[in-house]
Symmetry: C2
Subunit: 145 residues, 2 copies
Amino acid sequence: MKHAKIMDIGDVVKRSGLPASTLRFYEDKGLIQSVGRNGLRRLFDADILERLALISLGRNAGFSLDEISRMLTPHGPRIDRELLAAKADELDRNIKMLMAMRDGLRHAAECPAPRHLECPTFQRLLHVAGKKGRHERRKPVGIAS
Amino acid sequence: MKHAKIMDIGDVVKRSGLPASTLRFYEDKGLIQSVGRNGLRRLFDADILERLALISLGRNAGFSLDEISRMLTPHGPRIDRELLAAKADELDRNIKMLMAMRDGLRHAAECPAPRHLECPTFQRLLHVAGKKGRHERRKPVGIAS
DNA sequence: TTACAAGCTCAAGTCAACTTGAGGTCAAGA
DNA sequence: TCTTGACCTCAAGTTGACTTGAGCTTGTAA
């Protein structure tokens, strides 16, 4: 029987970089679980780190914690391929949008014209931006700055 | 003298797609201004639409409303080129990250392996994701789904 | 002139993902 | 044994960008 190494919350904090409050919060939400207690203190199995990495990955990809908890069963990921594919497509659209933005910003940063509103490149960008998701609620794509 | 066309808030709602509450909110924040009142009712100059488009553009590019209000003077945009260039670089980093995510998701959606944790492609992705912005606060990149 | 849809104000509520604070417990090193 | 710092719980606070609701006003069509 191989019992993996067991850590207390402080170790997980050090090794994951996440604050203890977040770990407790994730446990409350059912995203992670501790393997037991030593007195009051939570004990975690070492594989928690992989799970936390998976959660970060999901967050970075734009999943909400709720979506992630639906995808990660207690014993590992159960992956909804359609959802993943849909997210990938969504990311792809976002990427295209962001690239247009980036180019627009670069243009604005370099273009010497004082009035960008008169610049055709800028106009085009405005036009593109204006067409996007008018009535839809904005969602984080979720990349740290 | 050319007095541009004047609209009431309902017209702006129809033409911008933004709800009236948002327009009032933006006015409170100083992001936009009405040109006067007809009784209680706000009157807007037609160029408000361009300004709103500019605001949407900024939001899409990941600027906060505060940043935007610093950049948009009452009489048009005053552009901080360094800030723009910095944002463009930030967007560029985010784009790269998102592309990695997208590829990872696509892989996960297509890879027949039941345990992605054992798949080297996925491992690599986890590794990449794990390195990102551990302690930094997450920010919306702000694209509607 | 009267009804009413469209405006208005101001305060409070919402949402996600956490963080903070107050007050309590307890394992382990000195 | 004593101290203390790491942990605990539970409730409330935070942030940004809006939205919602209650209660009031008014331009305008009939």
